[in-house]
Amino acid sequence: MPNTTYIVLIPLLPLAGFLILGLFGRNYFKRSAGIIATVLLLVATILSIYTAYGYFFEYGKVNGIYEKLMPLKYTWLEFSQGVSIDMGILLDPISVMMLVLVTFISLMVHIYSLAYMKGEERFPIYYAFLGLFTFSMLGLVISSNIFQIYIFWELVGLSSFLLIGYYYDKPNAVAACKKAFIVTRFADLGFLIGILILSFYSGTLDFTTLIQRLTSPESTELKTAIASTFLGVSALSWGMVLVFIGGAGKSAMFPLHIWLPDAMEGPTPVSALIHAATMVVAGVFLVTRLFPIFALSTPTALNLVSYVGAASASIAAIIACTQTDIKRVLAYSTMSQIGYMMFALGVSKYGGENGLGYTASMFHLFTHAMFKALLFLGAGAVIHFIHSNEMKDMGGLRKYLPVTHITFLIACLAIAGVPPFAGFFSKEEILLAAYQHNTTIYWIALITSGLTAFYIFRLYFSIFWNKESHPHDEHHGEGGFAMMLPLVLLAIGATAAGFIPFGNFVSSDGHVLESKFHLEFSILPVAIGLTGIFIAMILYKKQNNKAERIAAALSFVYKAAYNKFYIDEIYLFITKKIIFNLIGRPAAWFDKNVVDGSVNMIANITLAISVKTKKVQSGKVQQYAIYFLMAAILIAVLFIYWWK
């Protein structure tokens, strides 16, 4: 294996960008900030592609199995023998794939933002935050230690918070960034407790050792972890479920998804990068990273993963059909697609043919990042042109935005699962994996894929067809080369990514997994997808009132879905009415009366004593002298007559 320590540069280059632009950007790089950040990231992208080439084709494969390599490991904090927080790099197929994906999407967003964010007051800060995010995300994917991943996990949460709240003078954005931070932070509490449980039982924090100790049937660590139970569930399952809660919070799984739609208050390229392609799949990545433990030792926890995934996928798809803000439609679509990845992992088994779900999940993660980033950037171009997020302000834009129109259409076809676009291949694999292992989930997924096709084409037709709109200012057109280039590159990705033989690179046990193509199996999902598209075409291609009539007929269901099934309201009810009233108020009373009270009482006693005694300090020098003389005489008398 050649020297690969240069990999450490891949996360450090964006970090350098963050430091330079964050410290000096405002004064020195007001105009050139974007170029600097983009060039740094371009270098990082080239390095990661080089790494991927080297790993997949030169040194990664030993005896037909992709090895886990650790080019760099630095022990940072050692708690006891074997339990230490390391800073290291772990190279395996998924981390290498994520490296390429994150740097590529981030590079696209950097280029796109050159045009989209031009003229912003805090332009350098925007690029600094993007650099911080890219650094943390790259650090997250190459983490070799579960605590290292937690550190970067929080860092991506922080940068997401900063970027959602980028327009800090908009009250909505401020509320959204707080919400995102609190909800994910709340879920991360589960992750932290999960880490503690896992490390307590396995006696290590290192991923490779952790997985090895908790999966091999003869290891004593595994036996104790399974033997000790809490509420009838083994400690190991608790640990894995808690880790999954952390992942679910970051990946916006039901019922912790409430922050994601609101996060759309951030700038659109940020939504493309963080809330569609990279950060929100961190949860999927985490489950993948610990997949051997899930699959071999805690099938119950894995079942939970699959049902949470399926529930999120279907609920989000239903809500997406009713939303009118185009970015919110895309947000729910993201949640739904991540649900797909989750249940694909959930239905997967470890090793061989049964590990199809694992490969499918990673494949879908890859293709989804391409087409969803494309959808968001396309939506960004539309918003840039029309200055509104609402569907009702749009229509007939295909004449004004030809490039955006074509690329958006490609992305829509990809997400709807129409062959030969990327989403078709990955979605077929997921459906096949579900079909083989869990038929309930297969049917949920099938219906959801129909809904997906429907809502995405509802979006497409509403923006580009439907009524004719006459935008009043046409001065900036499509935003120039910097905005076109990422759209075109991502469109190529969304078309071609499906033809990558993914099973050759990523599989649950490192062996090559031949991806077979079943024509007869694909007919049903594609037919359902096309039906969805067809219905959307009837309802939304021409301006008509069919959609309103259907909504009126289904008024109850429609209203519930439009209001996102009142989940936000339920949260508010629980927090405001139950937690605040039953826990918050008594706690506040206790704090005010008992904690503060005892401190105040001591202070009051001191005050009373000092009021009584302050007369002594009169300021009369001679009085002091008398006291002094008396005391001296007293002491003298004591020493002479009494002390002897």
Partner: protein
């Protein structure tokens, strides 16, 4: 000529001390109070010399202490005079009552 004994000298120094203390406690004029302090210090000096001469005539500790006290008394007087002059500048009086407001 009759040599004074230790007791006579101690009597004088005690008298001197209490005259000084009385002056310090009763006078209102700061200069007078300063003079009283000097009386007290000198009574102490007398004590040191007397004990040195009558009890340990072969040693010099008492003499050294006296010299130190004289030097320090001079320094102390200069500081006190400086304070008194400042007080006079701000209040046009050197009454000790005026110093009371320094507590605030």
């Amino acid at each position: 000529m009759m040599q004074p004994g230790l007791y006579q000298i101690l009597f004088i120094s005690t008298a001197l001390f209490f005259i000084g203390a009385y002056g310090f406690l009763t006078r209102r004029n700061l200069i007078t109070m300063l003079m009283s302090v000097e009386l007290i210090l000198n009574s102490v000096n007398l004590n040191f010399i007397a004990f040195n001469k009558y009890l340990w005539p072969d040693r010099l500790d008492g003499l050294f202490f006296t010299i130190f006290i004289i030097a320090i008394a001079a320094a102390e007087t200069s500081v006190a005079i400086a304070i008194i002059i400042n007080l006079y500048r701000s209040h046009h009086s050197i009454d000790v009552e005026n110093a009371e407001e320094m507590k605030y």
